[in-house]
Point group: C2
Chain length 351, copies 2
């Protein structure tokens, strides 16, 4: 919490003009109303001694060792979609980035840029989601910041979350990949992209596709506990599974081949992709990851994932020697064709 | 760095349509162009092994002990003003929040929300400022995130910086204040607010007022080194010195009285305030802090500050017993009047 957002004046009387349905600029200007917003909407909701201290910085104990830090801005539109909202997305997105880096999440910060006129009810709903997602993962919100900008200077609400965690399971990363290593996915791909797309335009799906937005901590913690020597992990967010595979190919200097018939795709995602001419491998996931393990550990890894909520976890391909097209997809016929890396996501503001 | 922003494809050829003067949406979509932006504009500029690794999270060593974390969003307008810009402001603002919390800054993350159409030259200028400010303070950029939103969904550029530091000088904070303690300021007040205000509207000042935007690490480090038992420190940002005094009064349950004649104000800031009917005590500073020390240490503290770049550092008032109006200002006549706490800053988007 910074910039004079601290403390709270208990004697501050209710002010009808400021208690209307929408957030006004004055709530972001660092004075009494900002303090009130922080006390009434943040501190009460999130509790915690560290947050309640509202110093210029939060002070926490951190165990000796290596620390992981990640930061992400969230500008998703719409703010609410089937399976989640910007608050849930921000918490799980940041926590998942720590987890796939081999770190156990410890603390989160939350910075908000709010457009003047955002309904209080909408902010409350997002903050409730942030709290629920934190509760699920057992991570504390320790500090934050609030800015309110004039109407038209932002699109409703942007969040930026920073997470820190303790590295408990260091991995070699893509540089450690070897020919023959197995590539796994933890579940059906492209669900977040399909859900956001269908919540922007009505394509007539009933029920609509639901985002996979969720925590990767339980299945990955299970892999750690079982001592599976995972080589690399990556949550397949913007750019989807295709982006992860291309990055690994580039960083390892090797090739990757996946089997078209092995890729788990829900009927919903398949229908959306067929309708719009998209490839599920290019659509974002927000609760699904790609893993690389030595092939002899692949069956155990799949078994553990399936036993920890990832029912559709499966082997999808393997690392090969370097080739002119780094990532290929093998059809049922056995024919291999290059898998394109998109220049950008097919969807702006997906997260 | 997150969400598929990793790695870089060296074979990526120049693409004239994307190399124009302005940033397009595709640069924020997580694919090849996002990687190119990150490699060419961020990694090359900031260097550092941790950043260059571009994992989902940065991994750093952190010494055992207490850690301070702070986060701040920056939405200042205009992006450039005399004495600084949004990049310099973001780095020093976050570092100063750590320093006034008794922490030595160790690492910074940077998340950007860019409006489609922002000129590349403007982004480069801001990123150069970020780099220069980091160089001044010796802090590393370890991770970041980039989003590009469609025209009209944000106002050019928002930054969110998160800083972590090692607590080296724990202080009792406002709860440790006692009647008779001395209140000091490190320099002339209200300079940032006046500079931003005059860069929005031409009030005819030539030269214009210049922001105090800068690092508080050198003077505060000097106080630590000298072993001055500082009770609390606060950078007087949004809400100015008045906000800090009100917070300390509320949190300590005591009163504060300052002397009008002791408050350092530049002729420029005084002129701006007279022209617009503002109080310099309510205008933001971005490189000036308020400190409370036992009165017997006040002369030494002032002497040290003056010897470390804070030429105008001075005693401005003292802690008193509790009263009905917590913060008062004493005129030359000796008469005390209450110092108002503004409901909000007189300026939106000051930081």
């Amino acid at each position: 919490m910074a910039d004079g957002d601290h403390g709270w004046q208990p004697a501050c009387p209710p002010q009808a003009s400021h208690d209307a349905e929408r957030i006004t600029l004055a709530y972001g200007e660092g004075g009494r109303l900002t303090r009130r917003l922080i006390h009434e909407r943040i501190v009460r909701r999130f509790g915690g001694e560290t947050l309640a201290a509202l110093g210029d910085a939060a002070v926490i104990d951190f165990p000796p060792g290596r620390m992981a830090i990640t930061t992400d801005g969230y500008t998703v539109t719409p703010l609410f979609f089937p399976g989640g909202d910007i608050g849930r997305l921000a918490v799980f997105g940041t926590i998942n980035d720590l987890v796939v880096s081999g770190a156990r999440p410890r603390a989160l910060s939350l910075a908000m840029v709010i457009e003047e006129g955002l309904p209080w009810a909408m902010l409350d709903r997002v903050l409730d989601s942030v709290r629920d997602a934190l509760d699920i993962t057992g991570v504390s919100l320790v500090t934050g910041d609030t800015k309110v900008v004039p109407r038209g200077a932002a699109d409703r609400l942007f969040l930026t979350t920073t997470g820190i965690g303790e590295v408990v399971f260091p991995m070699p990363g893509p540089a450690g990949l070897e020919v023959g290593d197995a590539i796994l996915v933890s579940g059906p791909i492209g669900r977040h992209g399909a859900a956001v797309l269908c919540s922007r335009e009505d394509f007539g799906f009933d029920p609509p596709p639901v985002s996979d937005c969720g925590s990767l901590l339980p299945p990955i913690e299970a892999l750690w506990q079982a001592g599976v020597p995972v080589k690399c992990l990556r949550d397949a967010t913007r750019g989807g599974v295709a982006a992860v595979l291309h990055e690994w190919a580039i960083q390892s200097g090797l090739g990757l081949t996946i089997d078209a018939s092995h890729i788990p795709v829900t009927p919903h995602v398949r229908a959306v992709c067929e309708l719009l001419g998209l490839d599920p491998l290019h659509l974002a996931c927000e609760g699904t990851f790609v893993a690389a393990v030595d092939s002899k550990h692949a069956p155990l890894a799949v078994e553990i994932l399936q036993a920890h909520g990832c029912d559709a976890a499966t082997f999808i391909g393997e690392v090969t020697c370097a080739r002119s097209t780094p990532v290929r997809i093998r059809a049922a016929s056995g024919r291999e064709i290059p898998l394109d890396e998109p220049a950008g996501s097919p969807l702006p503001r997906i997260c």
